[in-house]
């Protein structure tokens, strides 16, 4: 298991290297000159030429790529063209904001999705099954933009239950320590702020969690249906075991592998793909960070941002693979 993990981690290097190269080439293929965008409509030609030189963008791309690579190896992710701050210094708060939101979204998605899938499979073709699957179908195809604004309008404004935007109460902000506000508020001994942070997480969490929730529910259902038709389940029932245990203990464990795979993939997707939710809920996350960098042609931020997100994505998949063995002892890694 240990040597397997090491081997998988080593295998990450060429993956990330290849990805770095592709991203590097791709962003240079999009038209648009960073100097023009930074200096705006008013810019003179001389100013643009001067800035291009200063940013090092006038040099041949292999030189630029090589410098970028050697930088990364020493932990230097480059300097943002826009803010002129080293990316390694400024990326963490964005990443933390996204991690916090994604985890909450996934917790919501997993708890509701898995259970809805199980119950649907358990009572296949019942009214619950139909309703749940129709809801899941709607969930998969729901525009997050619309859902987010509706949540704000109904839950936050009409019912006045939860705040509309942001990570904390802007009039009483959380003092950042780790930038994971759930932890920070507790570290600062502010339980009231902790509650406030959770209240801010609920609406965006639901908006972001809806699609994974629906996908997980459908996957759990189909996987469960398959398992519940197998012989050992019939045996378990024949023994007179309570249906609840049959479902939640014997079936679920065996049905879980594809579900875990989906959960892993979705978690990875959320990390980079939360742009819409972040936009609507004023959430300063990594999605908007990279998105803005793209419209600003902030090459180093695009490169390093995607690199970090991709690295996390690959790591999550590794964790998922290792989880297989924990869930199903028949799976062994050598």
């Amino acid at each position: 298991m240990f040597s397997y993990t090491i081997r998988r981690l080593t295998a990450l290097i060429p993956v990330l290297l290849g990805m770095t190269f592709i991203v590097f080439m791709m962003i240079r293929a999009i038209p648009g000159n960073p100097a023009q965008i930074i200096l705006g409509q008013q810019a003179t030609k001389e100013a643009m030429a001067a800035l291009t030189k200063e940013l090092g963008l006038d040099r041949p791309w292999p030189t630029q790529f090589w410098e970028y690579l050697t930088g990364i190896i020493t932990g230097d992710l480059g300097v943002s063209l826009k803010s002129r701050v080293p990316i390694s210094e400024e990326i963490w708060p964005y990443l933390a904001a996204t991690i916090e939101l994604s985890l909450v979204a996934m917790v919501i998605a997993i708890i509701i999705g898995v259970n809805a899938g199980i119950i649907s499979a358990w009572f296949q073709n019942s009214w619950f099954d139909y309703v749940a699957m129709v809801v899941a179908l709607i969930g998969v195809s729901m525009p997050i933009f619309w859902l987010g604004l509706m949540e704000q309008y109904i839950v936050a404004i009409q019912w006045d239950l939860l705040p509309t935007t942001g990570r904390d109460n802007i009039r009483d902000p959380v003092e950042a320590v780790t930038n994971l506000y759930l932890i920070d508020s507790l570290l600062n001994n502010r339980f009231d702020q902790f509650i406030e942070v959770i209240r801010h997480l609920i609406l965006p969490g639901i908006a972001l969690g809806t699609i994974p929730m629906a996908i997980i529910a459908r996957m759990t259902r189909s996987s469960m249906l398959e398992v519940m038709r197998s012989d050992y389940i019939r045996t378990a029932r024949a023994k007179g075991m309570k249906m609840f245990w049959v479902v939640y203990k014997h079936s679920l464990k065996n049905a879980l592998i594809p579900v875990v795979t989906v959960i892993g993939l979705q978690t990875g997707l959320l990390l980079g793909g939360a742009i819409l939710t972040e936009t609507i809920f004023g959430w300063p996350g990594i999605g908007t960070y990279i998105y803005e960098a793209i419209s600003y042609r902030d090459y180093p931020v695009i490169q390093s941002g995607i690199l970090v997100v991709a690295a996390i994505f690959v790591l999550i998949n590794l964790v998922v693979d290792l989880l297989y063995a924990a869930i199903d002892p028949r799976i062994k890694y050598k």
Partner: protein, 534 residues
Amino acid sequence: MKKSLWYVFACLLTLSLVLSGCNSSNSSSGEKGESGKKGYTLIYGRGGDSTALDPAVTTEGESFIVTEQIYENLVSYGKDNTEIEPALAKDWKISQDALTYTFTLNEGIKFHDGTDFNAEAVVKNFQRWAKSKDEAKFAYYPSMFGGFEGDEGHVIKEVKAVDEKTVEFTLTRPQAPFLKNLAMSPFAIASPTAFEKDGDNFTKNPVGTGPFKFKSWKKNDTIEVVKNDKYWKKGLPKLAGVKFKVIKDNSARLNAVIKGEIDLMDGLNPSDMPKVKKDSKLQLFERPSMNVGYFGFNTEKEPFNKKEVRQAISHLINKQDIITNFFEGTAEPAKNPMPPSVSGYNEEIQDYEYSVEKAKELLKKAGLENGFKMDLWAMPVPRPYMPSGQKVAEAIQASLKQVNIDAKIVTFEWGTYLEKVQAGEAPTFMLGWTGDNGDADNFLYTLLDKDTIGSNNYSRYSNEEVHKLLVEAQSTADENKRNELYKQAQVIIHEDAPWVPLVHSKPQLAGSSSIKGFVPHPTGSQSFVDVSVD
């Protein structure tokens, strides 16, 4: 598995109970409690973060909105116009030949770092820009003052501290908009001690003389400035501070205003105006226009090199319809290349009336009565002067159909779009301009003089007569005479029709009805110095 699931369920249940319990007490104590207090921190919601808090190194409005609180200039604009008023300088004299400006400074002003504001500080600020010769860093300085020290076009020959409270500017040639330039956000006076010490970090640690001091900056989230207790104007500012909060989506930002989470927002969607009007707890603010949105022709390209074709198309565009349908009435039709708020605006010009017949006649004159095919370039992003470029392009496209002109809408990503239009690749295009200093020169010369072909004269319009008028105006100190020159230039431009000026938009802001004294400034950034909240 099951056990842990139940555990999670139990936690969640407890949590939701706790949360719903906290809810009612929380919302009432948190927000209302504070607003009752004397020092109120106003929260201003906006669509994007600042890039740098040193106004000299940025060209972008979201930064100026903040630096306007922290810094002050020698002179300032009026509260809702671009007339010049005293600020750090209480008085100034202009020599007969308009080459020497002598400013008398207010006394007893200190920067936020405790150092004195004096003539020497002013000199050091101008030297910082002029001597840098760094066009990539100080982009506005060379474009407003004709270059850096040593450059041929550089307008400022010398800045001299005559004594502690007197500064003398000597110019190489008269520059009519000189005072208006000095009032621009980028030429605010910063603490020399601070920028000498901080170097490149100065953009993150701004130090000025303004009513508010910089406190903190959470990237892409919040910038906070707090009251400067030692501010030199007695009794000001009235607020305890201002927080600038980024909420990207316009509708979401309005939701936050309705909920009371933020007090004020810019970038209100025109379609949301009725909602704000209906709500007694909210009020609307209208920013006077300092922009122009236009439909331009490349006057070097067939068939738009023919004046008749350009005039014909001018007759085909129904500006009022565009305003009603795409601006919800928050704009006025444009007939000149500059907005009426800028002095020198020619009121007397008669706009091309909407008439398909006249257009047909003109096209016939040009020998194009059977129509033609063309590309119509439309901007891909909403701009202050054109919130929905694509839709307006479609409206223009439909109008052109009436005379058999078959327009194909073309678009590119914004940076590319600007680059290509600048290079003269677009035969016709939609664009606009927001004024920098509220001067006619900044519209007419910048956008339509033959000198600016290749930079901002996207139409590549070249008219010797217009050029003469505009250059003469640049060195005419007498305001009336100068305005007369601009009015003449507008007559010729109107006749030549290098553009169809479409609209001057008036951006809308929404805020809590308890805000007092907030006046949106045409330049897009205003000081909150005398704003208060009841």
